[in-house]
Symmetry: C2
Subunit: 577 residues, 2 copies
């Protein structure tokens, strides 16, 4: 399943770099930005160097004081027509670039996002390739202030850095000019469309979906294998202690997130296909770009949230031992949790999608044609939500997710209108409604994910037995998601309280059906021990031996007696006798 | 608010030891166990030494292969009447003690939980005081195998350790013999009641509630102060960037967990009072002990879960900067998340309470007298759940939480009966129903917490203005909790879908009412900067200056050029040119 090129790359780098790959930004951000924003000439120069690892690039957008609001970035690039150079400056402390991966020690080039000034006018943010370190000595170049930002929750081997500029001059040709341009004399040529800059963002977010599925698959593998080894308590007096995987509560922690790893994986595949289609159209028709962009915003938010929550649930399911670094679950959580705030903070992402959904609702009400991902709004308009009955079937539940989304979108649109009618400005009304707007976008994303999961499994070309298991996984996922939002279904669909008990029962049956195959499913991911890096999740199940071996390597066990005894502890103990 | 003795202690140790206090187990476990289980003579010797820091004790119960199921512990203590000694052994790898705090390097004594064997009979687990290191040299004593278990998600300065025994002899008087005894000739005298050993567990769990409130208060302080400093985007074009605390979505992340810190704090106070009353009775009447024990099991689980989730929500609300160690939020999460698995894994805790609730339901159905914490089940029995109407009032919602709990308990009892009638054994029926049993115990805990919060605020002796704010906090907490479980209320109370929208609206109004006081409330916790240890949450609001200062101290910035360049990076870059 993970044998796509990106998967292999992630496998290999994971087995070398425990907490992140320090060249990752070069591949995932620097090169794609050159492709997306560079002229053919620029691509010829920089892409070759980057992909060939002759230089190591990073992408420097976020500043110490500015993340989400890109228009507010403070770094400046003033064009000097006399020398045909841009002069970069960091005018304030808050304008220092902060966070770029690899920047601390690895990268020697950066794509820097800065406010372009030419002929006395600021034209907003543009991208510039800046050399930051000498290619021979790796020393920072004059005017470049650079360093590492300090320790973090995770991703310890990605040396995130800071970067400041003091009159740093770069050639005019170092501005990425595929669309907007600055001519030799300093004249500014505007991009034909600002939609064109979406490409890299969408690409990165599709990759993030793949990673979210990957983190969940790894965490599930570790926790399910451990749960087959670990024994605890007796269900029946006199019998052997039970494998904890036999406890229904343990299955309820693990199997829904195992299923979620498939749900997100199929979502990623569908998004990748949509992305590829749109990119093929990019030079011509741009109509589908906004829809894809808005879709990826909410999918990025929801999938990274599910992954972070799922990894942590897997970690907690291993009890105290999941707290140990040697389980590798804390490190996986560091990755999964980081993704909730980088490349677009999740709440901001959801509000971005909500804005699109509000427009789509108006279009649906106005009887206009709808793009595919919001076509379900049409049905919601055409009276009683399209559904006359509720039969607990998979198809019914999938439609139910769309009805919930449509119901919430409608409610938000009404609340917005009401507040505007009461005299609030549209901006204030938006802020006042924003909690529900976030929930709209969440519901929209869930509706997309469950539909793609169910459809992908139905269309998947597999043996009957494999298809049975995949169907159990997709059924489990939709039931689990529904039951976690039962209030929404009771409010916005024809589901009744009695259905909740029946669906709960259905879900519990699927948990028991998945139990015998659980270890087989995660073995099927084919993670090597070197990639999993987990004493709890290794192939051979020698959990306790491996934990002991890991502990024996702790630096604190190097000397039998820590020097702190003579220095601090003994004086304390003796002073009190 | 945090000026109680335990609070002061936590403050002081927090400002010295960043990630945990290495003498903590001596105070919180070793000494209380001596008090709870030691004879007056044993207390006279060991309590004085421990509280005076002449020795450092820890508590060694959990083993590498055994946590929850204490009866399954493998460490043995065989009594030898010839020398009047116990001989301790670790017969297997899985029997090694694993996890005790301070054990790695600090402690020189441990209370060891082991299977007592005397006169050829195993009498189950008992507590033994074992010297593990020489008092002068701190070297491990003969037969003692000891070390540190390696790095973890958090609590880095608590040196958790492992411990194995090979024929370690200790005097007979080192068995804690307040209740069970072994006489000189090896005869065993049974404890008058096994309830008597609950005391220390209950005490520790009450302290854990206090800590959960403390973690939430700290995280809220950091995130709310940061949100008042951080500015992002404009709500209205042309205006200054907005303090992110003005965003309704940000308030929705932060204020409910600020309120939760108060909810848990009041729950802890009520539990402490109940504990003190019961302890005063301990020598005589033990009737209230099981109720208190079962209550603390579910409160421990729910409060630590809320705290972990709340700390993480606060962390995420700070965007990328919350990911940095210098925010101190990752460390706080390490504490809060650890509490979900230590001192009783949370799911196990909830199932423990559920067992009590199932018995209580049978008693209620049988018309028997009910103890106070489950008295609400009586009302549920007496037809249509006691409630004829739903009016969205606080009193109504508090009763609603009890109705949800009663409804879920009733449903579980019915499902259990049904499964037993279908031919499943009671043990299998229990396992099959366990997902819902966990939810019963959660609902029971929530009902207790909201009732105590509302009642405590109502009875709190404060100025009108302070009381207004406290009432806003308790109202917010109950509305937030209800809306997160709206499905349960739609199923088990007379609340209708239309009420959900109204309650959502009420909650949003309270968020806006709390906004002007939010910084004041967290300032009122009076955390010193030394205790908060957060660049984002410091009193002066100099967020960016402090982040920069913290980064400048990173060991990776010591040399401008990391040695890895010459060793690894340069050869890579040059090989590709």
């Amino acid at each position: 399943m993970w044998t796509c090129r990106n998967g292999v790359m992630t496998h290999v780098t994971n087995s070398i770099f425990k907490d992140g790959y320090p060249f990752y930004l070069n591949t995932i951000m620097f090169a794609p930005a050159v492709i997306g924003q560079g002229t053919p000439e620029q691509q010829a120069i920089w892409l070759k160097k980057a992909l060939n690892y002759e230089i190591i690039g990073t992408f420097a957008q976020t500043e110490l004081g500015h993340g989400t609001f890109i228009r507010g970035l403070e770094t400046t690039a003033h064009y000097d027509p006399r020398t045909q150079e841009f002069i970069l400056n960091s005018p304030t402390l808050t304008s220092y670039k902060w966070w770029p991966g690899s920047l601390g020690h690895t990268a020697n080039y950066a794509i820097v996002v800065a406010q372009l000034h030419t002929q006395g006018v600021c034209h907003g943010i543009h991208l510039f390739i800046v050399q930051i370190r000498d290619e021979e000595t790796h020393e920072p170049l004059p005017g470049i202030k650079i360093g590492e930002i300090g320790t973090k929750l995770g991703m310890h081997t990605i040396n995130n850095g800071f970067l400041g500029f003091e009159n740093v001059r770069i050639p005019r040709e170092h501005m990425l000019m595929k669309y907007s341009k600055v001519l030799e004399d300093g004249s500014y040529v505007r991009s034909p469309s600002n939609r064109l800059t979406y490409g890299t963002m969408i690409f990165v977010r599709v990759v993030m979906l793949q990673h979210s599925a990957f983190y969940l698959a790894k965490a599930s593998t570790i926790a399910i294998r451990y749960s087959a080894v670990r024994r605890q308590c007796t269900i029946k007096p006199g019998e052997l202690e039970v494998q904890i995987l036999d406890y229904r509560t343990q299955q309820y922690k693990l199997f829904p997130y195992l299923a979620a790893s498939f749900a997100i994986r199929f979502t990623a595949i569908c998004s990748w296909n949509m992305y590829s289609e749109v990119i093929a159209e990019l030079e011509g028709d741009l109509e589908r770009l906004p829809e894809l962009h808005e879709l990826l915003c909410c999918l990025k938010a929801i999938c990274t949230t599910i992954a972070a929550h799922g990894v942590e649930t897997c970690r907690l399911s291993c009890g105290g031992h999941g707290y140990m670094t040697c389980s590798n679950l804390p490190s996986l959580y560091g990755f999964a949790a980081g993704a909730c705030t980088y490349e677009g903070e999740n709440t901001v992402m959801l509000l971005q999608t909500a804005r699109y959904l509000m427009k789509a609702w108006q279009q649906a009400v106005g009887g206009m044609a709808m793009t595919p991902t919001v076509a379900y709004l049409k049905q919601a308009i055409s009276g009683n939500n399209g559904l006359q009955y509720w039969d607990n079937s998979t198809a019914c539940i999938v439609r139910g997710f769309q009805e919930v989304a449509a119901g919430k979108i409608k409610q938000c649109a009404e609340n917005m209108s009401k507040r505007i009618q009461e005299g609030f400005s549209p901006q204030d009304a938006w802020n006042m409604t924003s909690i529900e707007l976030v929930q709209c976008a969440e519901a929209h994303a869930h509706a997309f994910i469950v539909e793609k999961f169910v459809t992908s499994v139905a269309e998947f070309n597999a043996s009957v037995s494999l298809k049975t298991v995949l169907t159990q996984l997709s059924d489990l996922y939709i039931l689990f998601s529904l039951l976690h939002n039962s209030g929404d279904f009771l409010m916005y669909t024809n589901m009744k309280p009695v259905d909740v008990s029946n669906l709960q029962n259905q879900m519990e049956i699927i948990l028991s059906q998945l139990r015998p195959n659980a270890v087989g499913i995660v073995d099927g991911f084919d993670f090597h021990d070197e990639t999993l890096r987990s004493a709890l999740g290794a192939w051979d199940g020698q959990v306790y031996e491996r934990m002991f071996e890991a502990a024996s390597k702790s630096p604190l066990n190097k000397d039998p007696l820590n020097e702190s005894f003579q220095k601090y502890l003994k004086p304390l103990l003796k002073s009190n006798m």
